[in-house]
Symmetry: C2
C-alpha cells in the first residue's frame, strides 16, 4: 500500500495533504462555485461530492456546480436532494436534478460544451473557488493526471484558487500518457490551436498547476458509473443502414474517400448504434474526433476499421469497460483524451472537416432540430456538444427514430417546439424510414424531402396536408401559425399527437 501511495502521489511534499472526503468537503462553503471533473459519467470525483451533499443536509450550503458534462454515481441526485445546488452548468442527465430544474428550483445554464471555460477565463461567469478533480496520479512536479475524462478539469484546476484531488485506485495507472492537455491563450492575442490531424498531440500529459494549490487529496476506489445506452434495435440498425448507403453514394460521387472524414458521434443509443454499424461497412482506416468515446469506438478498433480516436472521455458499458480498461495498453497508442474545449473547438472541427452525428429529440419539416426541450418547455439533458459540432462540421447529420411513445408522438413535427440547431446547421436528417439530404435546398424543398423520406403514415399525410395549405398562404418557410404547435398541444391534452378519428398506430 505504501508503494501504491508513493506511486500515485509522486511529489513527496504533497503526501501530507491526504485526508478523508468529509474533511476535504470542508473546503466547500455556502455560495461558492465548484468545478468538478466528470464528462458523460466518466472520471467524475466520487467521494468529495457525496460528502458535500451530506454536509448540505446539516448546514446551509448552496453552490454553483460546474462540470465537464454529466456525472455518474447519483452525485447530481444526491446534491439535488440535499438542496445543495443553486445553479448547475453546463450539462446534466439525472432525473431528480432534471425535475428540480423543470420546477425552477435549480437554475440550469445550458452551454455549448466548448464554451464554459471561455466564459470562466474571461470572468464572464463567477470564478471557480474550489476544483475537485479525479486523477490516477499526481506527478513529481505536482501535475494532475486525469482518469477517464478530461472535460473541463484542466481549466478548473488552473483557474481555481484551491484544488482537491481524488486519486481513484480503481482507475488504471496505465491511463497516464493518454491525455493531451492544451489550453488556449487569452484573447485577443491568442495563437492558432495547433491540432491539424486527429492524432496530433500538442500539450502535456498532465494538468500543470502550482502544487501549493492542492489543499486536499482523497483516495477512492469506486469505478466509473457505466454507460446506460441501450443495445442496437431494428430501428437504429435501419438508421445505420441508411447512413452507410448514403456514405457509399458520397464515395462513388467523389466527395468522400473510403476512410470518410473524422467522425463525431454524440452520446446515446442511436449514435452509438450507427457508429457500430460501420463495423460491417466497406469503409476503412476511419478516424474519430469526438467528445465521448463509447462502446462502438472499441468495436470499430477491434473490427480493424478505426485507426485513431480523439475524445474527451471514455464511457463504456460494464462488459466493454472490463475488457477495455484491463487491456488499455492495447489501445493506448490509438487514443487521446483532450479538454472538451479542444475536442469540441470550432476552430479544429471546421479545420478537420468532421462528419458529425447527433441525436434529435424532434425535428421539424424544415430541418430545425430540438435537442433539449420536451414540448418546448421541459429540459432533458442539455445541448452538449451538438452545437459545437453541427455548426462547424463538414457534414452535420441528425438522427432520430420517427416515432416515440408507440406512435403517439411523431419526432418530425410541423414546427419544432424549441430550436437548438436551425436549418442552416442540419445537412442530413435520418430516421428508420429513410434519409433526407438537405444540402443546397430551399426550405420548401427541404420540407418535401423530409416528409417523403423520413416520416411514416399517418403523420406523413398530415404533414403533406399541412404543407399544402401553408404553401398556399406563402412565405419562404410556410407555416400555419395557428396549427404549428397544435400537435404538441394535442399530445398534452389527449396523450397523442394524432387528431381524433385517426386509427391508433401499431406499437413502434
Amino acid at each position: 500500500m505504501q508503494a501504491v501511495f508513493e506511486q500515485r502521489i509522486r511529489m513527496p511534499q504533497l503526501r501530507s495533504r491526504v485526508v478523508d472526503a468529509t474533511e476535504a468537503a470542508q473546503w466547500v462553503k455556502d455560495g461558492m462555485t465548484i468545478g468538478m471533473s466528470g464528462f458523460t459519467r466518466a472520471g467524475d470525483a466520487k467521494a468529495v461530492p457525496l460528502a458535500v451533499a451530506e454536509k448540505a443536509l446539516h448546514e446551509k450550503l448552496k453552490i454553483t456546480l460546474i462540470t465537464g458534462a454529466s456525472l455518474g454515481g447519483d452525485i447530481d441526485k444526491k446534491l439535488t436532494e440535499a438542496g445543495a445546488l443553486s445553479r448547475r452548468i453546463p450539462f446534466q442527465s439525472d432525473p431528480v436534478l432534471r425535475a428540480a430544474i423543470n420546477r425552477g428550483e435549480v437554475m440550469y445554464v445550458d452551454h455549448h460544451l466548448s464554451e464554459t471555460v471561455e466564459f470562466l477565463r474571461a470572468s464572464q461567469l463567477a470564478p471557480v473557488d474550489v476544483a475537485i478533480i479525479e486523477a490516477v496520479a499526481i506527478t513529481e512536479d505536482g501535475g494532475i493526471v486525469p482518469s477517464t475524462s478530461v472535460g473541463n478539469s484542466a481549466s478548473f484546476a488552473i483557474l481555481a484558487s484551491r484544488v482537491i484531488v481524488e486519486i481513484n485506485l480503481s482507475q488504471s495507472p496505465e491511463l497516464e500518457g493518454l491525455h493531451d492537455i492544451f489550453i488556449p491563450g487569452r484573447r485577443p492575442h491568442r495563437s492558432p490551436i495547433p491540432i491539424c490531424e486527429v492524432d496530433d498531440r500538442v500539450g502535456t500529459s498532465m494538468i500543470p498547476i502550482p502544487p501549493e494549490k492542492i489543499v486536499a487529496i482523497v483516495f477512492t476506489d469506486k469505478p466509473d458509473s457505466p454507460s446506460n445506452i441501450l443495445p442496437a434495435d431494428e430501428e437504429t440498425a435501419a438508421i445505420a443502414g441508411h447512413l452507410v448507403t448514403f456514405f457509399e453514394r458520397e464515395v462513388r460521387q467523389g466527395r468522400l474517400t473510403r476512410s470518410l472524414l473524422p467522425l463525431q458521434a454524440g452520446i446515446g443509443t442511436i449514435a452509438n448504434a450507427v457508429l457500430a454499424g460501420l463495423a460491417d461497412s466497406p469503409f476503412q482506416n476511419l478516424t474519430m474526433y469526438s467528445e465521448v468515446l463509447q462502446d462502438s469506438t472499441f468495436d470499430l478498433f477491434d473490427a480493424g476499421k478505426l485507426d485513431f480516436a480523439s475524445g474527451s472521455s471514455i464511457t463504456l458499458s460494464p462488459e466493454k469497460g472490463r475488457e477495455v480498461f484491463s487491456n488499455i495498453g492495447r489501445y493506448k497508442d490509438r487514443l487521446v483524451l483532450r479538454p472538451q474545449e479542444m475536442s469540441n473547438h470550432p476552430e479544429v472541427i471546421r479545420r478537420l472537416g468532421i462528419i458529425a452525428l447527433n441525436t434529435a429529440l424532434e425535428a421539424d419539416v424544415y430541418g430545425n432540430v430540438n435537442s433539449t426541450h420536451l414540448f418546448g418547455t421541459h429540459m432533458m439533458n442539455g445541448i452538449g456538444g451538438s452545437g459545437d459540432f453541427a455548426r462547424n462540421a463538414y457534414l452535420s447529420i441528425f438522427a432520430t427514430k420517427s416515432l416515440a411513445k408507440n406512435g403517439a408522438i411523431s419526432s418530425i413535427v410541423p414546427m419544432a417546439s424549441h430550436v437548438d440547431h436551425n436549418e442552416h446547421d442540419v445537412d442530413i436528417l435520418v430516421t428508420e424510414v429513410g434519409l433526407a439530404d438537405l444540402r443546397g435546398l430551399a426550405p420548401r424543398e427541404k420540407a418535401q424531402t423530409v416528409v417523403r423520406n423520413c416520416v411514416p403514415e399517418p403523420y406523413r399525410q398530415l404533414l403533406l396536408d399541412y404543407l399544402a395549405e401553408a404553401n398556399r398562404r406563402g412565405g419562404h418557410t410556410p407555416h400555419l401559425l395557428e396549427e404549428a404547435l397544435a400537435w404538441h398541444i394535442r399530445y398534452r391534452e389527449t396523450g397523442s399527437m394524432l387528431p381524433d378519428g385517426l386509427p391508433e398506430l401499431a406499437a413502434a
Copy 2:
C-alpha cells in the same frame, strides 16, 4: 484612354478579350450556376448581370446565382423580373426578389456567409460554371484585383471553369493593395488560418488564377449603389447609450480594456448608429474585424478612435462614399478587405475574441433571436454573417427597437416565430428601453431580465402575465404553447399584436 486600358489590363495578351456586356453574357447558359462578385451592394458586377437579364427576356435562361451577399443596381430585381433566377444563394435584400422567394418562385438557400464556399469547394453544391467578377485591374500575371468588396469572388474565380472580369473605371485604381486574398486548404489536411491580429495580412493582393480562364473582359464605369441606411434617431442613440454604459462597466470590472476587443457590426441602420455612437465615448484605439465597413467605420477613423478595420466590403452613403473614395490613400494603411470566408471565419472570430453587434428582427423573452423571417414565414434578407459572429464571439450582442409599426408590433415576443440564434448564442439583448445582460443566467432568469429591461408597456405587463402563468405550469423554458404564437396570429388578423381593449400606443 489607351494608357488607362493598359494600366487596367496589365497582362498584354488578355487585352484582346475585351468585349461588350452582351457578348460576355453569351457565356451564361440555361441551367448554369453563376458566381458573381458583390457584397452588401459593393463591388458587384454591373453590366454583364443586366445583359444576362436582358438575354433571359428573349430565350429560356434559368440560372442558380451565388454571390457574396446583397447586390446593388437592381440586379436581383431585373433578373427576377426576367424570370432568370431558379435558385439564389446565400443572401439578398431586393424587394422584388424577396417577393418571388416568398411566393415560392425562386428557391432561396440562406447560408451562413462563411460557409457557401466550403460547400462549393467540397462539391456539396453544384459547381460554379461562370464567375463574373468586378475588378479595378488585372495584373501582369493575370491576377484579378477586386474593387470595393472581396466577398466570395476569389473562390468563385478559382473554382469556376470560366471567368468574366468587369473592370470598373469608376473604382479607384488606388484600391489595389487593400485586399488580402487567402483561401484555406482542402480538408482534412488543412493548416491553421494564420490571422492572429486584425491587421495581419496573410495572402495576396489579387486573386491568382490561370489567365486562360478569363474568357471575357468588360469595361464599365457605373459606381456602386450607395448604402440605404437611415440616419441615427432617438432610439438608435438610446441603444448606443446603453451599450456605451455597459462597456464602461465592463472596463471598470476589468473584463475589457479601453480599447475593448475587435468590433463587428452587422449591416444596417442600428448597428451603424451604435458604432457611430462610440465616437463620443471614452474608448480609444479601437479595432474592427467585421464584414461590411459602413459610414461609422470612417467616422471612427476620423474621430481618431479607430486604429484598424478589417472587412469584406465597404458600403457607404453617397456623401461618405465621395469623401472616402476620393481620399482612399488616407485610410489605406488602416484597412484590409478579405474574402468573406475569412472575415467571418469561426476560427478567427473565436481566436480574436470579437464583440459582435447584430440586429434582431424579433427576439423572445428567453433570448432566442429571429433575424430573418417576418411572422415566422416570410423571408426578409437572410441570416448573413450574424451566425458566424454570434456563435463564436467573445460577446454576442443583438439590438432592436422594442416596437415596430407604431407600436402594433412588439419586437420582444413570448416565443420567437423563427429562431436563427438561440439562447446559447445571445449574451446581450438591447433595445432603446434598456439592456439585458444574459450571461450566466438560466432561462427563467433571462426572461425576467429581458422583459424588465427591454420592453415598454403595455407589452411589458402582458409578458410578465404570460411568464407568471407559464412558470406555474413548469419547465426549464416555461411556455404556454397555445398562446406562444398568439401575438403573431393576432397581428395577422387585426393589424396589432395588442389584444382588443388595450389602449392604442402613441406613435413610436
